[in-house]
Amino acid sequence: MSPTPLIETSALTKRFGRATALDGLDLSVSDGEVHGFLGPNGAGKSTTIRVLLGLIRRTSGSAHVFGLDPWTDAQMIHRDLAYVPGDVSLWPGLTGGEAIDLLTSLRGGADPQRRAELIEAFELDPRKKARTYSKGNRQKVALIAAFARPARLYIFDEPSSGLDPVMESVFRQQVLRARAEGATVLLSSHVLSEVEQLCDRVTIIRDGVVVESGSLDELRHLSRTSFRVAGIADVDAVRSITGVHDVHAVGGSVEFEVDSDAIPAVLAAVAQQRATAVTAAPASLESLFLRHYSVTR
């Protein structure tokens, strides 16, 4: 990992009139990693990405991409960057092929062979007018344009929201190929399996601030472990331990959640109570996200 991050923001703030979209956001994406960027709708993901692209100007704080200021050096940054917005809008009168050629030419031109491969892999008919494309097909056009010319940094804003599962897997292959070629990827997504399979590290934001950041393993560590234990006589012996939550009986067993630092105490108690069966599972990503997404404001 390079010492200077490829993307770095600190105390990044963006206000639209009175509304605060970003409220001191610290994001760091290292060279060569696939970084998941997560958060509920309206958390500020797209706003962050637009600041990083120099499309909107930050109110305060700092933001750097490739060590450059995205507002003043936008063009320089865009030479090494490929972007796919969440809601792709194309020129209605241009065909998909023409839109791909336009976008790649502006970045310096596509590799024709790679362009052809991508069109085949994504099963796109490039002769159709963009007006007639569905959401998924418009997204494919933008994805093909992004991958058809190798970039140092790829930024995807919910790229697979209109794609079918087969196309999602094509997309994942392309991301993995880009990473193998040494590129860095910032991926905003709601598809947990996608995040789990692709991302080295993730950042979760809510209401314009980062609430969690780290590798998936680290995040799991921070979250609770689910226990299912059979044969305990005195449930209160477990319930009374600090760090045990949500205790309830299911059939002949007891289920509960345990904070990671309470695990030794719980294991001791379970052993003492002569449990007959124990299952412990790390928090699923889903429960991790649900916890962060649904905390009442």
């Binding site: 499309l55 909107i56 936008a74 023409e98 976008l103 930024i155």
Partner: protein, 539 residues
């Protein structure tokens, strides 16, 4: 029925501001014209003189309307009706397309189409909304005319004549919306039909027969091909009759029925003009921002080009015919000789200069439309895609401004060339082609100012670009055509760039004014480019 009313209510609510502005704007214009005539030409003899001059000059008849007597109302109707009718027509076509093809394109129609309503319910509601809007317009306009000092019966007839034109174009747009594949295409085609109706009655009126006392013109049969011609035939302030409006009503019923039948039997999203497949790869020209700007403007430019060539052809082709008609009419030629002692006011040249002035507005519209596309690109998210590549905002807006300027020059030049060519065909000198090409081009600098101002608005206040861009052009047009009549102070008239355009070939070209206008345009675009670098992309 309930669903129908709900949809009608929703459409009405969505349009409450737009329609209020249109209706109030047209009524205020009607009031201003009526009051201006009553104030400036209170004397019957003055009015008789102005009508006689107009009858003697087919260029005025073509551009303005059909002279019909020297009463206050007659002069007001002659002066304002055709333009008011065009406004009512545009209000109606934009209204219908907004709720039909444009909604279908954006997918809103799909959402409504999944509810338990008939396929044609939405269109029927839109047609009823259009009819209601024109009804309100008739009431307000009649009140405005009366308030301006015109007699009641005539005012009511005149307002109904305007409403009749609006009603016809409600149904015309409803049919066009079924045929065209996009909202933009439907708007373009139906506004072209409105302008066509104006030109058609212009030709018919200019070729009409002047009465011996020079107080009125009986239009030729061509005027009866235009809904605006039907409106004029009601002769509100001389021999009012509503009979010609039966034609408008019949056209409305037949065309609306046809549109509803078309809508009931076709698939959602399909159109008579089908979408074809295109190229799988871009041509070399389609790989740059200039290429893109050109590509986006191309089809629209062809439309403006066709309009300007037709207008130029009319100017050049009709001018000799009209000059001949004037020469044949003893009282007319006597009047013209009296008006232009130096003989510089050759009927041919005056007629052509008046039409070239309208060509300047067309060119301005072509340029402004190119710049307005920037706003659509931004609001619909395509600018985001484009500006995330190494294209600077300056390059993006600069390329578009370049294409806009080229559009202005192409349209003015084409209009001048078409005029000259048509004159040459009907026995003019070969020199005329060059002379009139230059005369057409003389209108480009003023039109370019509108391009620059629109770019500036886009850079500073993106959300109001489209409304202000078109609005300023309309104000420029009204100041140019009606500024004198409405007694707008000269300094205010001078605000309009078109005020400074030389009406070549009648007047010699004012070179200083040309350079000032070009300088203002260049400065405007430059400031826009700087200002644009300071703002957020705004959807």
């Amino acid at each position: 029925m309930r669903a129908f009313l709900t949809i009608l209510g929703t459409q009405l609510r969505r349009d409450r501001w737009v329609l209020s502005f249109w209706i109030a704007g047209i009524a205020v214009f009607g009031l201003a014209v009526a009051a201006a005539i009553a104030g400036q030409f209170a004397d019957e003899a003055d009015r008789a003189a102005i009508v006689a001059i107009s009858v003697a000059n087919p260029a005025i008849v073509f551009a303005r309307g059909l002279p019909d007597g020297s009463s206050l109302g007659g002069v007001a109707f002659f002066t304002g009706f055709a333009f008011t009718a065009v406004l009512a027509g545009l209000m109606s076509t934009f209204l219908v397309v907004r709720h039909s093809r444009a909604d279908e394109e954006t997918g809103r129609a799909e959402l409504l189409g999944a509810t338990p309503i008939a396929r044609s319910t939405t269109l029927a509601a839109t047609i009823v909304l259009g009819a209601l809007a024109n009804l309100v317009l008739v009431a307000l306009l009649a009140a405005a005319y009366v308030a301006g000092g015109l007699p009641l019966e005539g005012s009511l007839t005149a307002a109904l004549a305007v409403g009749g034109v609006g009603l016809v174009f409600v149904s015309v747009a409803a049919v066009v919306a079924q045929a065209m594949p996009s909202g933009r295409g439907a708007n373009g085609a139906s506004s072209a039909l409105v302008v066509g109706a104006y030109l058609l009655r212009g030709i018919g009126d200019a070729l009409g027969t002047p009465s011996d006392d020079l107080m009125r013109v009986t239009p030729s049969a061509i005027s009866w091909l235009s809904p605006i011609g039907w409106g004029q035939a009601t002769r509100p302030y001389t021999e009012p009759t509503l009979l010609p409006l039966l034609l408008s009503l019949a056209a409305f019923v037949v065309l609306s029925g046809w549109a509803i039948a078309l809508r009931s039997s076709r698939d959602l999203g399909s159109s008579l003009v089908p979408e074809r497949t295109g190229r799988a790869t871009a041509r070399l020209g389609g790989r740059s921002v200039v290429g893109l700007a050109w590509r986006l403007q191309r089809a629209t430019l062809l439309g403006w080009l066709a309009g300007s060539v037709v207008l130029g052809g009319l100017a050049g082709g009709l001018a000799p015919v009209i000059a001949e008609a004037v020469a044949d009419n003893a009282s007319l030629s006597a009047l013209i000789a009296r008006l232009t002692p130096g003989g510089s006011g050759d009927t041919t040249e005056v007629f052509i200069a008046a039409l070239l002035g309208i060509g300047g507005i067309l060119a301005g519209a072509a340029g402004v439309q190119a710049v307005l596309r920037l706003r659509a690109e931004e609001a619909e998210g395509r600018a985001e895609l484009l500006l995330a590549t190494p294209v600077s905002r300056v390059a993006w807006v600069g390329a578009t401004s370049l294409v806009a300027a080229a559009s202005v020059i192409i349209v003015t030049l084409a209009m001048g060339l078409a005029t000259g060519a048509a004159l040459f065909r009907s026995g003019g000198a070969a020199d005329d082609v060059l002379t009139y090409a230059g005369a057409g081009l003389a209108h480009a600098p003023a039109a370019l100012v509108f391009v620059a101002v629109t770019a500036l608005i886009f850079a500073v206040a993106p959300r109001v670009t489209i409304a202000l861009g078109w609005g300023l052009l309309v104000i420029g047009f009204v100041l140019g055509q009606f500024g004198e009549l409405l007694q707008v102070p000269e300094w205010l008239q001078a605000v309009s760039p078109f005020f400074h355009t030389s009406a070549a070939p009648v007047v010699e070209l004012d070179v200083v004014a040309v350079f000032v206008l070009l300088g203002v345009s260049a400065a405007g675009v430059a400031v826009a480019l700087v200002a644009l670098r300071r703002r957020d992309l705004t959807t």
